[in-house]
Assembly symmetry: C2
Homo-oligomer: 325 residues x 2
Amino acid sequence: MILTLTPNPAIDITYRVAAITLGESHRVEHVTERAGGEGINTAAALTSMGIDCLALAPVGDGTLASFVADLDGRGIPHHLVRAPHPTRRSIALVDDAHEATLFNEAGAPVPAEVWAEVIRQVERLGGSRGVLTVSGSLPAQTPTDLVARITHAAHEAGLRVVLDVSGPVLSSSLAFAPELVKPNRSEAAATLMALTPSGAESRSQTGAAELARLLVEAGAKAAVVSDGAAGLALAAGSVALRARLPQALRGNPTGAGDALTAALAASLDDLPGDHLPDDRGAWAEVLRRGVAWSAAAVLQPVAGPIDPGDVARLLPTVEIEETLS
Amino acid sequence: MILTLTPNPAIDITYRVAAITLGESHRVEHVTERAGGEGINTAAALTSMGIDCLALAPVGDGTLASFVADLDGRGIPHHLVRAPHPTRRSIALVDDAHEATLFNEAGAPVPAEVWAEVIRQVERLGGSRGVLTVSGSLPAQTPTDLVARITHAAHEAGLRVVLDVSGPVLSSSLAFAPELVKPNRSEAAATLMALTPSGAESRSQTGAAELARLLVEAGAKAAVVSDGAAGLALAAGSVALRARLPQALRGNPTGAGDALTAALAASLDDLPGDHLPDDRGAWAEVLRRGVAWSAAAVLQPVAGPIDPGDVARLLPTVEIEETLS
């Protein structure tokens, strides 16, 4: 079972108007609203691929009922922990002339007792096998080591851990040996700069394969660094691979990272034994699935679900090569 | 006592960011949120002038607690009628380069039984004397004659009625002889066009004084038509006046109309007897107060409250003249 934790979920609100004019007033006739946040999108991707999962998130009291109704309606299993403050909003303004213009609220602080309950649920729901994913930002004033503590608790409960977090939250977690981390190239560079500030200047030029290797050196058991159209770079033990589509797809990239997290978690959940493999073939299949799911997400109009038909069509097109190091 | 009805209140949300770039993502650190809507602003203006009032509005179940807390915090007396659907949002995006960019949701339909309860509260709270104001838009799918019915019920309960509504909602109410209507010039023109579509072409050129006269001819006991920097035009019985400041003030115009409604309601509440006066002097004082309060609102950073000191300073500067008809 895969548990997807969203520490900072959002009410995703979309306003569609004919044209946006700055400084003017707009009457909005078309409003859509749904439960959002990266871990919820990851659960949506897993659900559409028929994989057993549970979305875990702290949700503000006044938002709980609408989140439950929305997730139930989309068939996404969930366990929401009641929090006292309102859940943040993310507003997408869409008109005919622009890609979505987004306004993401930072998120109100979540009290320590709610985080304690989230950790209890990770321990309880994870069971003795399975994978925990932790995705996205943290609410304002959250202790930086929260994800490190969650990683530790998940390991104690027998779970493998996939982290889609960045900055100090990621760097403080690496010492707890998460099974997989998946920053994009600039997030990976920033994380490594935070660990070794003296190397700050050089990291922005460092390639994805080298960043992945450095993340493993810093503590992660495996690292996948996404690099836009250049695809994914993986480092795990002595394995170093790169995977990509022969050509980039056009579409909506907002859910691609969440679908990649879903694919990586699904692969880790399938891997047998207590230890991650150290052979190229097993990791190549992990990457293949990651590229195909994330490309399938680009073909969707909204972040979250993916089409298994798209995945089946894309899987054999993924190109894998070994990285020379 | 003045009862201010807001049929379509809103949660006024303000996002302040350094710069808005269409098509991009913005992290919002500064969010303010308060109870909004034109009748609520009118109650805020009355409250800041020390005048007894009560804000009446249907408010969605999930929004009630925050509306109550906000209005209590601002010292605005209120009676909120519980409605099943969420209250609409109005989002103001503010950056350094632009006036606020507004996105106003239309508002979810309000069931008939909630309107019936609103009308019961008008009858009960109005008592045998006082003024009812009705301000702003109606939620989606509201019967156009709702305000006409409320006007009738208020009259039965002994209340005078000030309407700050427009379009078919105003035109259908005129037959019920509201004591005062206060559209702006383009709203007045549109309302009169709806009543006599054959005259449609000509109305956009009609002056404010003539529009006020036509609104009285169509059924209102008195009409004040606002005309931007040109001030206010009033028609009431045989009286026809115009009032303005010697020069327009610069500032935030968003609450000016609501403060004008507040001033007009306060004046009507003060007028003795069962009938409106038909003498120039009494109406000149009504207009003088209207111009001063609405100008005081322009000096405020947010819509709602006004400063009695500003009002005292502005009152003697208002210029009144008789309109030749």
